[in-house]
Amino acid sequence: MMKNQILFNPFIYIAGYASLGIGIGIILFTSFIAWMTGTHQVGLLQFRLASDTKWIYFLIDHSLNWIIICLFLFLSGLFFSPSRIRFIDIAGTSAMSRVPMLILPLVRLIPAFRSFQAGYTLNLLVLFIVYGVIVIWSITLLYNAFKVSCNITGQKRVFTFIGALLSAEIITQILLYFIYKH
């Protein structure tokens, strides 16, 4: 039970500035490994492989998505939560919920997953499966971050979370499109 909570809902124990510190550390480290391996994170639901971009773009990939999700979750909390919510809790827990995003760049440190030429379809398939697990884990963590930080109950919580997540995803994709275009 405790192990499950640490894996899927550590926010029962950690929130606020502590989670923000850990979360920012995770984002910076993930961006660094992503830059080393050329693994782009486009929003929460997509990844791309390209090694010829500057390091700043990898940092933008991870931080922009976090900032936008965080803003949408905070707005949802302001409108629908019966509690007096704190921005620092949402910022911290949503940053910490990005920890699974570190796995993909780490997997790509393994030589077999560095480049995908003809004949490497099995490796690519494995990478997609790993990515599926990462996305599910990240969304579960983010949902629990929202649950703990905003205290919205019942169906309202599910719908506001889906709404915030999808809106954030669309805006991130649009912003990243314009950033990469220039």
């Binding site: 926010f11 029962i12 124990y13 950690i14 929130a15 606020g16 989670s19 019966p82 509690s83 007096r84 919510i85 704190r86 809790d89 703990v148 930080s149 205290n151």
Partner: protein, 94 residues
């Protein structure tokens, strides 16, 4: 082990009331129908939470440190109790 004060009816889950009170020293017994105080209607963990909260001067930060839980988790616990008390108020006025 101390006996836990039952607050709900084990048969129909309705709120229980007090029928008699007794003086431990002289055995005088008072009979009647008395409502339980609002706080006594909460479950034991919620009552302990409120006691700790008062002892912590109403500081959620101190409570979070004491319970080794995050601040929003403790705030949600408190809000849950507030919601329950408000519900019981509404049920009473209806």
């Amino acid at each position: 082990m101390k006996n836990k004060l039952p607050v709900g009816c084990p048969s129909c889950q309705n709120q229980l009331i007090v029928k008699s009170l007794i003086c431990e020293k002289c055995g005088t017994e008072v009979n009647g129908l008395f409502e339980l105080p609002e706080l006594a209607r909460l479950d034991i963990n919620e009552q302990l939470f409120i006691l700790d909260f008062v002892k912590a001067s109403g500081s959620l930060k101190i409570m979070a440190q004491k319970l080794k839980l995050s601040y929003p988790t403790v705030r949600n616990m408190l809000d849950g109790i507030i919601y329950k008390l408000k519900e019981s108020d509404t049920a009473k006025t209806e």
